[in-house]
Each structure stands twice: as structure tokens, then as C-alpha cells.
């Protein structure tokens, strides 16, 4: 008897259909509520363009931060035997399961002007993270970096160590090994991790509004703008929602080889 059935049992099909509808119906509802005739006008309002520009710049900056800091962290987690590595990894993964608003409160406790670090930053350098685009970047990096770190760490772990050993045996210094051998081999994972964390940063809401506030042009990103407009200007909020929906689809398509079952040997 073949393991792969031609048709699943009816009960399984019913449950699977219900699950699919749970995903599909809200999205269909969103698309169907959109005011297509005025969609472009809704997206051209000063508030909408401002929010899109801010979201794009802050999410790209947060992704850059995640790559620059996350790559060394992934390497440490994958390749070293530092004590308490399991606890470290749990700490890195925590923002993925932590409610973002809790992340925002935690960031406030660490970096608000009344916190030791925040007051030092302000008194010494005049830097205030709260209510600034830099604060948005920090909140976004906080929730998005784990996606980058675990993706790259998994790639480093599954890498055949012999490539690196051979390179080292041929006289390459550790930095050379990393740049010439390791990095090219994990490049697909680095790209995928960066795209994932960018998508997460772009959608960040709870930590941002709690930590960085909701200032037009400074910290009001797309999700905050959607939330604030939902009552006063529903069609504008739906137009912006469609933009984020479109981006999410584009990310999925971009990652399809990696996440949708393709690309396996």
C-alpha cells in the first residue's frame, strides 16, 4: 500500500479546509474592502508617504544592524563552546516569543531618559532614543534580529567543517577562511535571514509604539499609521495594509526555494 494517499480522509479534509479558510477569509476580506479606485490617492497622502518612507528606512537600518551584530553572534553560538550556550540561545530567541509590547516596556526600562543607560546617553552625548527614528530602529532590531541569528546559526551548524579545515590546512588565516570559504557557503542563509528579519522589522508595532512613541514623520511607521487611521480614515488604513500584504507576498516568493520545499538536494 502506498504511503501517499490519492485522497485524504474526509475528516482530515474538513479540518484542513477550515484551517485554510482561517487564513484565506481575512485576507480576502481585506482585498475585497479595498477602495481600488482611490487606492493610489490613498497612498499618495502626505501621512501615507511619510509612513512608508519612515518604515522603509528604519526597517532597512534595523536589518543592517541585525546582520552586522547577528552574524558574529550566530558564529559564536554555532562554533564556540562558551559556557551557558543553551541559555544564551534561549535569550536570543526570547524576542521571537515575547509579546512585542513587553519588549517595548523592557526597552523603556533600559533606555528611557530615566534609566541609568538612557540618562547617561542623554547627559553625555545628548542622545535620546525614545521618540526618535533611532528608537524605532532599536525596537525593530530587538524583535527582528533573532530571525537572522537562528537562520545563519543553522546554516553554520550544517556546514561540512572539512571545507574550512582544508582551507586552514592550506595556510589560510581564520579571517581568510571565514571570508573566502565560510561566508560564500552560508551566503544563501545570510540573505534569507536578512529578508526574514526585514519583513519582521517592517511589521513591528507593539515595541515601537511603546518605546518610540507615535510621532508623525519621526516614529509613526506603517503599522502605527494603520492603527491610528483605522477609525478616521478606514480606506487609507486598508490601502496601507495592502502595501504590507503585498510586501509579505513578495518576501514569500523571494524565499520560496528555501521555505516552500524547493531547493533540496
Amino acid at each position: 500500500m502506498s504511503v501517499r494517499r490519492r485522497r485524504p480522509p474526509a475528516l482530515v479534509l474538513v479540518a484542513a479546509t477550515a484551517a485554510l479558510l482561517l487564513f484565506a477569509l481575512p485576507l480576502i476580506g481585506l482585498v475585497q474592502r479595498a477602495d481600488w479606485a482611490h487606492l493610489l490617492d490613498d497612498l499618495r497622502t502626505p501621512g501615507a508617504t511619510e509612513a512608508m518612507r519612515l518604515s522603509l528606512t528604519t526597517s532597512l537600518a534595523a536589518t543592517a544592524l541585525a546582520v552586522v551584530l547577528g552574524l558574529p553572534l550566530a558564529w559564536v553560538l554555532a562554533r564556540t563552546d562558551i559556557p551557558g550556550r543553551a541559555a544564551l540561545r534561549a535569550l536570543v530567541l526570547l524576542p521571537m516569543v515575547l509579546p512585542p509590547v513587553v519588549g517595548g516596556v523592557a526597552l523603556l526600562s533600559a533606555f528611557s531618559r530615566r534609566s541609568p543607560i538612557g540618562s547617561w546617553l542623554f547627559d553625555t552625548f545628548g542622545i535620546q532614543l525614545t521618540f526618535s527614528p533611532a528608537g524605532v530602529v532599536l525596537a525593530e532590531a530587538f524583535v527582528a534580529m533573532p530571525f537572522f541569528v537562528i537562520t545563519v546559526e543553522a546554516a553554520l551548524r550544517s556546514l561540512d567543517p572539512r571545507y574550512e579545515q582544508v582551507a586552514a590546512g592550506l595556510g589560510a588565516t581564520p579571517p581568510q577562511v571565514f571570508r573566502r570559504v565560510t561566508l560564500p557557503l552560508i551566503a544563501p542563509a545570510v540573505v534569507a535571514g536578512a529578508i526574514l528579519s526585514w519583513a519582521r522589522a517592517l511589521g513591528e508595532f507593539g515595541a515601537t509604539i511603546t518605546f518610540a512613541g507615535n510621532i508623525a514623520g519621526r516614529t509613526r511607521t506603517l503599522p502605527l499609521s494603520i492603527y491610528l487611521q483605522l477609525e478616521s480614515d478606514p480606506s487609507g488604513a486598508i490601502a496601507l495594509s495592502l502595501v504590507l500584504l503585498l510586501v509579505s507576498f513578495a518576501v514569500l516568493i523571494g524565499l520560496r526555494d528555501r521555505w516552500l520545499g524547493g531547493g533540496r538536494p
Partner: protein
């Protein structure tokens, strides 16, 4: 043939889902059968029991929480559950079919949205008034003395422009001929979130209701807004037509307007209805 089979299953699933939704709404409607508790208090009506949900403006959080406890103590066997958020969010939820028995709004506009949609039983009752106040960090380190000091002070926390407290703050600022550049205004989703940006966050000042400032205690300092510039918020309350328990809902609304209810509101800093 196979396609028809699949379609039938999809349709069956949908029917099940709809039926499940329908029956849960129906079972909510059945009255609870808790034994009436011995009640030695002064009430002479038939003993009340059951459960109601009250949607109330965020600025009513403390006073209505007290109100609910006092009401439950006076009518054992009753449970009053609250949802607190901006009046705009709550009225929208009710328009969208949220199962709510009583609505208490921080402005007349959001109540009108419901009366216009025929969702209100009888006429709304005005039960309280409120005024605005400037809140600052404890000790008022920026030395804010009036609305005119706000534009240059730093980040100011105001309610969203469509939230009653944000609309009123805009009116007060207009009365005082003060414009705060939008680039230094952070907008809260409701009165409590707006206050939190000052008490917990780094906003230097905010405009909230007198009652919110009072509830925050030592976490903020309050700076009065002169009566000429200030705005009076009027709070109406009403039983909704979709209530599952009209008797209990009306009893709660009556309690809000009663001497006991008014005393609770006064204690929390509300002004009596005009």
C-alpha cells in the same frame, strides 16, 4: 465527480462554522440560574442576577471599576465586566456587533453614532463631566506653566485626533491660540496610553483629563488649564438595544446616576452633570 465531493465538504465545513458561531451567540443569551443570595439591603425591586458587559471610555477606568464593585456588592449574584478603551474604538466595536450591554462614552459624538444606528435603548443619560489638565514629569522639571509653554518644551503626548481627549485637547490649544508642531507630538490610542507616555515614557508633558492626572498620583504633576481655554467633556451612558439583560443593564445605568454612583465619580475627580 471528485470536485463535487470536495465542494460538498467545503460547504459542510462552512455550515459547521456558521452554526458554531450562531449557537455560541445563542447560548450566551440564556439566563444564568444562580440562586438569589439573601439580600438585606435597601433595594425593594426583584433581586437582580446575571452578567453584563459595560464598554466605558478609558478615562472611566478607575471610577467604573469602583462602580462595578459597589454595584456587585449591592446586588449579590450579579457580575459586571468592563472593557476600557477610547470611546471611538468602543463605539466602532459596538457598531461591528460586539456583545455589549451598556456604553459609557467620553463625548456625545460617539454616543450619537450608536443612537443614529438605532443601537441605543431609550435616551442616553449624561452622568458626569470632565476637564483637561496639563501633566508633566514629577516636579515639573521643564517649568511648564501654561499651554503656551508646550510648543518648545519637547515631545508632548496627546490623544489621537479622533479620540475624544485628542479632539478636546485640540480645541483647548486652539482656544489658547497655541500650535504644537505635529513633529513633536506623540499620539496615544486613548487617554491612558497618552498619560503613560508621560508617566512611563519620555514625553515631557501631555494633555489628559483631570481625572487621569488624579489617578496617576505621584507619577505626574498637574498644571491647570484656565477655564477660558479649557474644554468640558460630557459623558453620556446608555443601555444598548442588543443587551442580553435589559433589567440588569438599566439597573447599572441607574446606579451610575444615583447618589452612590455620583459620589464615586466625584471622589475620582469628575464634575457632576450640568
Amino acid at each position: 465527480m471528485r470536485h463535487r465531493h470536495l465542494l460538498a465538504i467545503v460547504l459542510a465545513t462552512l455550515t459547521l462554522l456558521v452554526a458554531a458561531c450562531g449557537s455560541s451567540a445563542g447560548s450566551d443569551g440564556t439566563a444564568t440560574t444562580k440562586a438569589p443570595a439573601a439580600d438585606g439591603s435597601a433595594t425593594t425591586e426583584a433581586p437582580l442576577e446575571g452578567e453584563i458587559t459595560v464598554s466605558a471610555a478609558a478615562s472611566l477606568t478607575e471610577s467604573f471599576t469602583d462602580m462595578g464593585k459597589a454595584f456587585e456588592a449591592e446586588h449579590p449574584g450579579t457580575t459586571v465586566t468592563f472593557t476600557f478603551d477610547s470611546s471611538g474604538t468602543l463605539s466602532q466595536q459596538i457598531l461591528d456587533g460586539a456583545p455589549v450591554d451598556v456604553f459609557a462614552s467620553a463625548d456625545e459624538k460617539n454616543m450619537e453614532k450608536l443612537t443614529d444606528a438605532d443601537l441605543v435603548k431609550g435616551d442616553p443619560t449624561v452622568f458626569a463631566r470632565n476637564q483637561l489638565v496639563i501633566v508633566t514629569k514629577p516636579g515639573n522639571p521643564e517649568g511648564i506653566g501654561s499651554l503656551a509653554d508646550l510648543p518648545d518644551a519637547g515631545v508632548i503626548s496627546l490623544c489621537g485626533e479622533d479620540v475624544p481627549c485628542g479632539k478636546f485637547a485640540g480645541e483647548a490649544l486652539a482656544n489658547a491660540d497655541v500650535t504644537i508642531p505635529e513633529g513633536s507630538v506623540t499620539r496615544g490610542q486613548n487617554a491612558k496610553a497618552t498619560l503613560a507616555a508621560v508617566s512611563e515614557g519620555d514625553a515631557v508633558a501631555g494633555i489628559v483629563y483631570v481625572t487621569d492626572a488624579l489617578a496617576a498620583g505621584d507619577a505626574v504633576d498637574a498644571v491647570e488649564i484656565p477655564a477660558d481655554d479649557n474644554v468640558v467633556a460630557t459623558y453620556p451612558v446608555a443601555v444598548l438595544t442588543d443587551t442580553r439583560d435589559a433589567a440588569l443593564a438599566s439597573a447599572f445605568v441607574d446606579y451610575v446616576a444615583s447618589d452612590d454612583g455620583q459620589a464615586i465619580l466625584e471622589e475620582r475627580g469628575f464634575l457632576p452633570p450640568a
